[in-house]
Symmetry: C2
């Protein structure tokens, strides 16, 4: 039973179908991507305990797989007590949703995080910013995807940063103020807890307006960065594993995403974010990994205790790294228009560069304040640089219209792009 049925969950359901599992997909709106390939679909408010309890009584699932955080955690804990395997566990969800608890948990687990202050008043907040010489990042306690976060570069930014907390998912006076790390690279590690711990090849990515826009695997490193990485490799893998264990618990299974800042000059690795499920940036693995072993395949295999084939990974200095088919990249396809029934053209041109997967979302906007992700472009190439370019070209060939906005429109975001 998948709780939350987005595009990452859709691939979880597809891989579960291949393994022969019976699948149920739940979401708050009808026609969520994972609901289409699932055996059965339910729609309702997952923060309501009664709704979840009713579903679990009816379906009696062996495994519950939360895909999002906005779920009634009390219900999840009760399901665990009943002996249902919930992955990620309720406790992991609680920690991940609360930036204060997440920081404390990582700190205690022996993982390096940037210096920080918890603040709950404007005075403490101001003092914390000052402590970091007004060069810091502030984040609302209960927030995600950049909402409620602010980059402070000078004293003048403090008021705006403090006000930003109101934009959080769950607004409160609690804000964490974090030291700014002048990192060399920002790496995403996908860590699989199945029969042992396995790492995917490192992901690189960039964001636009707080959301993932393009990702690639493996991460590109120049000669200097390669040397830098060798010197901090042990920290990378040990911090990622510790962070994962701290959240997932000893019985935790599944894929985890760990975002790290690598500071080659000071030979230091910092853990920035951890999540216990497939990750937006990991969509590139839909193409770069062997069939059945994308991040979503790895997730459901781990949860349902199907081990990883020995041929599909290499052991390097005691670290198991999953093989990949080759260098690849992903690039989001987002809606330029609001409205129902998004339609696509330019697919044939796009396919000259890479592949196009469309998620099947019945309307182009669910949250009307930003471009909704409707699909993803996926490209393989001989080099990562080439793949990044090809994925971008693929996505930018696609034009979209909706019933309410019947003019074909192209992708419009161009910042950080390599071609145009």
């Amino acid at each position: 039973m998948l709780l939350g049925s987005g595009e990452l969950g859709k691939e979880v359901i597809i891989e579960a179908q291949r393994l022969g599992l019976e699948t149920v997909a739940v979401d708050r709106y009808m026609g969520a991507p994972a609901q289409y390939p699932a055996d059965r679909a339910y729609t309702g408010n997952m923060t309501e305990k009664g709704f979840l309890k009713h579903l679990v009584e009816k379906e009696n699932p062996d495994f519950i797989v939360p895909e999002i955080e906005a779920i009634n955690l009390e219900a999840l804990s009760e399901f665990e007590d009943k002996g249902i395997f919930v992955s990620p566990r309720a406790e992991a969800q609680k920690i991940a949703m609360d930036r204060f608890r997440l920081r404390e948990t990582l700190d205690k687990a022996g993982v390096r995080v940037s210096q920080y202050h918890f603040t709950s008043t404007a005075e403490d907040f101001e003092a914390a910013c000052k402590d970091f010489n007004y060069t810091c990042i502030t984040k609302a306690r209960f927030s995600s995807s950049g909402h409620g976060s602010y980059i402070v570069n000078s004293k003048e930014d403090v008021q705006a940063a403090w006000d930003e907390r109101k934009k959080a998912r769950k607004p409160s006076e609690d804000v964490i103020v974090e030291e700014y790390i002048p990192f060399s690279t920002e790496d995403n590690q996908l860590v699989v807890r199945n029969n042992g711990t396995h790492f995917c090849k490192t992901l690189g990515h960039y964001q636009l307006h707080g959301d993932y826009h393009s990702s690639w695997q493996p991460i590109y490193r120049n000669e200097e960065e390669r040397k830098g990485f060798e010197a901090v490799k042990d920290q990378v893998y040990s911090f990622a594993e510790k962070a994962t264990l701290a959240l997932a618990g000893k019985k935790g299974r599944g894929i985890h995403a760990v975002e790290q800042f690598l500071d080659f000059e000071n030979k230091k690795v910092y853990v920035n974010e951890v999540s216990c499920r497939p990750h937006d940036t990991g969509m590139v693995t839909f193409k770069t990994h062997y069939p059945g072993y994308s991040q979503s395949g790895l997730h459901i295999r781990a949860v349902s205790q199907v081990p990883i084939e020995p041929r599909l990974y290499q052991e390097e200095d005691g670290v198991r790294i999953l093989n990949s088919i080759g260098p690849g990249a992903s690039h989001v396809i987002v809606s330029p228009s609001e409205g129902w029934n998004p339609q696509f053209r330019g697919i044939d041109k796009a396919l000259q560069h890479g592949d196009v997967w469309i998620f099947k979302k019945p309307y182009a906007f669910h949250e009307p304040h930003h471009g909704r992700r409707l699909g993803v472009a996926l490209a393989l190439a001989d080099t990562v640089a080439e793949a990044i370019k090809e994925a971008e070209l693929t996505a930018h060939c696609v034009e979209i219209k909706t019933n309410e906005n019947p003019t074909w429109k192209p992708q419009w975001m161009k910042e950080k792009h390599v071609v145009s």
Copy 2:
């Protein structure tokens, strides 16, 4: 709209879901494999015109994809006349179901087939067998999967061969008697008609009791066979393409399977069978082909006019050959017991050798006269020989029981196997 919803269709639906298509799966029994991942499923008698017409009126599909032959062809023709794209077309179905028409069609298309006689009486049949010195293969006109076929090795076999026609899918007095070809290798070509014609790397396979049991890609050839192949390569590709075109017609799109006998001594290639859809032996491509491009992915992409990415094939002497990830093999997992709700164990052991995909069939036997295929083992390895062995080991780790037969039983067929 998929008509027939078996395990090959299941992957067609899965790949269609990824492309963003709306999917409908139809079968004669409830809980057929492709029905689970489809948006909507219907169950009924597909040889009934009224049933199909009702579904098409209700669903108004853009594409109809017959997966099996037992479909009302009059209805299919009417759907074509209405402008719905049916692939394979009704005409191709008619030809493929009728061994007399298929032979004539291939013969006319300039494709080499073995010598043959059409017979409709015991006397003609006897005379035809005599003409081939009692070394021939006899096949009932309306038959498939070996039912109604007989290998005649001596005069004494003639009566049994004539009686065998009664076991055909649609018994009649019409039997084709074919010359026996002392072939060097039996090759399966998967031919994709999409934006141009593409070939998959050649498949090898063996059968047990008339059904595919294991397949591999690429086919294994020793030094002599490699030389032999080079000498007949032109015939292989041109006959396969002509045979496909003859059945599919100029507008035909999709994947086609062409079974060929290669006689290296006489430098001759014969076409033995043609089908216009994914093929049992092609299940190996679920692992050997790039994600999204298995035989089922290639089929739905071709049907729905999503072209093949230029990076995914090589052109050799004017022939486009699809790249593969590496050598691999498939091996069926069949039920040793009748009954409902097949259950599996040994999956963790199996995964040490290869992957296990389970089709989700609600009962272990639908046609109670032979072991029903419930899943497939899929292995990649450094060499084809190794992959064949590993796929076999994978399958043979799996034990199955059903509600009615609650004793765990292993796979029992061992003929032609390499390990045991």
